[in-house]
């Protein structure tokens, strides 16, 4: 977001003009999109993420079988016309399970980040803007959460709460809160020094309006980038926890769990572990490329 658009936002408040879908927002998105488009890797990432979203949305239509359909006669069969990626020990179609596995991955990825944003962003805004004792206490608390190794903390939370998909989301969400809180706080510290923020003080606008209308939009760039990258990470953590048997519960299709369960048959039928692993790899790659592209596109200093 440019300086011009910032002051324009302030000017709008000053003039109390209410414009829906203001032209400056449209133009900003256009600029970002143009920059994103120029990066081939970012478009590649976007393409992967879109494919994944489509797969998850259309899983029931795309999958040739139910991911739970057991067929013991077809146990551990190699790829064939009937089962393009082969079957697992219980004769379940690997392709169908990989397709349905995307749902769990995305569900965990998105909801855990939303949870973290929902708590972390308001926390960062208020602590950064007001400072003081509340800031001090809240940030030390965040430090405590950050001080523990990530996986250790996730495993401890899972062991306490018991293994389930929703608890994975909760564990990941809790661990992500400090990251967003600190990121937002840092941005707010620099944003609040701007003259247009001073102007809102002079106008005695309500604190919520100042925070969410004038401060938050100017901290969006790092939040978007961090959220995209964190989604990729959340997908990996979900797969890891499921691999350890602490995440998604069988027989629900999950890439991490399928990877672990089929690992036993690595030497007898490598196909069945190749695809859950490949899916995790492509998904994470997609989110990471997109995240990197967005960072470049949103960074005003890299403007060409």
């Amino acid at each position: 977001m440019t300086i011009a658009s910032r002051s324009l936002a302030a000017a709008q408040d000053v003039a109390a003009v209410d414009v829906t879908a203001p032209s400056h927002v449209r133009s900003t998105i256009r600029i970002i999109w143009r920059r994103l488009w120029r990066s081939k890797t970012a478009i590649g990432g976007l393409f992967l993420v879109c494919c994944l979203l489509a797969t998850a949305a259309l899983a029931d239509k795309l999958a040739p079988y139910s991911p739970y359909a057991v067929d013991v006669q077809a146990s551990l069969s190699l790829p064939s016309k009937a089962h393009p990626l082969g079957t697992d020990l219980l004769g379940r179609d690997v392709l169908s399970r990989v397709i349905h596995g995307s749902r769990i991955s995305l569900y965990v990825g998105f909801t855990s980040i939303l949870l973290a944003l929902f708590v972390g962003v308001p926390l960062g805004l208020t602590t950064g803007f007001y400072g003081g004792r509340f800031d001090l206490i809240a940030m030390r608390f965040m430090d405590v959460i950050l001080a523990f190794p990530f996986y250790l903390q996730a495993i401890v939370i899972m062991v306490i709460l018991g293994p389930s998909v929703n608890n994975v989301i909760l564990a990941l969400g809790i661990e992500r809160i400090p990251i967003f809180a600190r990121l937002v706080r840092g941005s707010v510290l620099s944003v609040r020094e701007n003259p247009y923020v001073e102007a809102t003080q002079a106008l005695a606008l309500s604190p919520l309006r100042v925070l969410f209308r004038h401060v938050l939009p100017n901290c969006m760039a790092p939040i978007i980038v961090a959220a995209t990258l964190a989604t990729a990470n959340a997908i990996i953590v979900e797969a890891t926890l499921s691999f350890l048997g602490l995440g998604t519960q069988p027989p629900t299709a999950s890439w991490g769990w399928d990877l672990k369960q089929n690992l036993t048959f690595l030497e007898m039928n490598a196909w069945i572990i190749l695809f859950p692993g490949l899916s995790i790899f492509l998904t994470v790659l997609g989110f990471n490329l997109l995240g990197d592209g967005l960072r470049d596109a949103l960074d005003p200093r890299l403007k060409q």
Partner: protein, 530 residues
């Protein structure tokens, strides 16, 4: 399985009692003359009870600790590779009054690792310690018919029973029975006694070599009392390094690449790979351990016999699980004891797979499509095949209109819910390798801690006590058969299949005798490599 029967009052004296039974019984024509020295590297799947050797005087440890303990300690009697009761510290014994008294004649000049004498007084101290601890000692339930013990003279030890009863199977085979530790060491180390195991066995243990979750070291006991058939001192090995490798895949790779010589447990699903591996010997035998789905009879739905019979009887396709999950390497199992256990009876015909009959029973109990039975199965991720078996079971349950939810948890959380709180409806586990049915009886009595399933059957308790009072092995066989039928009749214990056990080692490991989980003895093991 053949087992030499013991006639009451007979004096069993092994002619070559000073020699270890492993040689006297089998001979070594194939293996050649043992080579001395070397380090055997072993992989175990878990740590040994955090380095605590409680000599069965505390709560139950894991299997791994028995398999370490039986190389550090001796018992009065033990089992041969044919599962006969054979001399260990006792060179002979007499059974007096149809099992009222047992007199053991001990080997002379046997020393503990700390140099003190292992005589009748020391043995008496161990037995008395176990009896004094009572229920706190988890094997006490096997020995609660003992009245008192006596040290008749320096090398004669006597056990007096409250009533004539059988004793030798429990002493020889039930998780090591009463291992004999040095009383001096126990007193010397005080509260830390269980971290300093001092026995008479072929190998010694030093707590300073122990690295938690990583390595257990056993070293040769140069003063071991047993000798081989040529009169050479045992053991042959200088040292045994037991590495903890939790991941079955990683352990298998370590064995195949020669980083380890001996893999304590091979995942049954890896057997086709091991069979093809060069230079690796694979051992197995009929199952001694069952794959159980415990039904908690304390609460719904399994307090209802009709639902137990429908879900654990006719609605469970044991054959399908054996064929698919274990790829035909396991036996479908209705009996409470698996085929490898003494006096097993094949009663699978009592519950053929019959979904219609299962549905009829469910209907009789008031359940149909609109009111299905729902329950949760808790399982742990110790063995990868648990989840496969549970998933297949879930699909079988769907066929009879029963909703089964799977909850997978780590072992400690699972143990807490299953062993301590009984907070479960159904729990899956491969549970305890057995010598005979009496070894399982810790779970048969109402009101005892280890009654995990909520047994409340006077008939079973009566039959079990009758078994214990019977010294004649043929008569015990009949009682064992009656017990198996009684359990199946009311579906008091739901086994799915046997849980096959596979062990593998490099082909340069010689003189080892596979004992299907009951023991892992290395006193006669040697390495045939330069």
């Amino acid at each position: 399985m053949k087992r030499r029967s013991f006639v009451a009052g007979m004096t069993a004296v092994a002619g070559l009692s000073a020699m270890p039974w492993r040689f006297t019984r089998l001979g070594y024509a194939d293996a050649g003359k043992p080579k001395l020295g070397g380090t055997l590297t072993v992989a175990y799947a878990s740590d040994i009870h955090a380095g605590r050797f409680s000599l069965n005087r505390e709560s139950p440890p894991g299997y791994e600790i028995f398999w370490v303990t039986n190389n550090i300690h001796n018992q009065l009697v033990t089992l041969s590779p044919n599962y006969d009761v054979v001399p260990d510290l006792a060179k002979s014994w007499e059974i007096i009054g149809n099992g009222k008294e047992y007199v053991f004649h001990l080997h002379e000049n046997v020393k503990f690792h700390d140099g003190t004498d292992c005589n009748a007084e020391a043995v008496k101290w161990n037995f008395d310690d176990m009896l004094q601890r009572g229920e706190k000692s988890w094997v006490y339930v096997y020995f609660n018919q003992m009245d008192h013990t006596e040290a008749v003279d320096t090398h004669t030890f006597k056990v007096v029973m409250k009533e004539p009863a059988t004793l030798l199977p429990a002493l020889a085979g039930y998780f090591g029975g009463v291992p004999i530790g040095s009383p001096t060491a126990v007193k010397k180390y005080g509260d830390a006694w269980n971290r300093h195991p001092v026995g008479t066995g072929p190998f010694t243990y030093d707590v300073n070599d122990y690295r938690p979750d990583e390595l257990i070291v056993l070293k040769k006991n140069p003063n071991y009392f047993k000798k081989d058939q040529w009169g050479n001192a045992l053991p042959y090995l200088d040292r045994i390094d037991i590495k903890v490798i939790k991941d079955a895949q990683a352990a298998l790779v370590a064995l195949r690449t020669g980083q380890i010589d001996f893999l304590q447990r091979v995942n049954p699903q890896h057997v086709p790979i091991v069979e093809k591996a060069k230079g690796v010997v694979l051992e197995t035998a009929p199952e001694r351990m069952p794959l159980v789905c415990f039904m908690n009879m304390r609460k719904p739905p399994f307090d209802d016999i009709r639902l137990r019979k429908a879900i654990g009887g006719y609605g469970l396709n044991r054959q399908e699980i054996a064929q698919t999950v274990f790829q035909g390497r396991a036996t479908p199992l209705v009996s409470i004891i698996p085929p490898g256990v003494q006096d097993y009876l094949d009663i699978n015909e009592m519950y053929p797979y019959d979904p219609d009959k299962a549905k009829a029973l469910l209907k009789e109990a008031g359940h149909d499509e609109n009111n299905p039975v729902e329950f949760e199965l808790i399982l742990n991720n110790d063995a990868p095949f648990f989840a496969d078996a549970a998933t297949l079971m879930k699909s079988q349950m769907e066929k009879i209109g029963v909703k089964m939810k799977l909850t997978m948890m780590d072992k400690p959380a699972w143990l807490d819910r299953f062993l301590n709180k009984y907070e479960y409806q159904m729990a899956m586990e491969d549970f305890g390798a057995l010598v005979d049915i009496n070894q399982r009886s810790v779970s048969f009595f109402k009101g005892v801690r280890s009654n995990y399933g909520g047994m409340d059957s006077p008939e079973i308790e009566e039959l079990t006590m009758k078994w214990r009072r019977t010294v004649d092995a043929d008569k015990r066989r009949e009682i064992t058969h009656d017990l198996q039928r009684a359990f199946a009749k009311d579906m008091l214990w739901c086994n799915i299949t046997g849980s096959p056990y596979f062990q593998a080692y490099r082909d340069h490991v010689k003189g080892y005798h596979f004992m299907n989980q009951l023991y892992v003895h290395w006193e006669t093991t040697w390495l045939d490599k330069a």
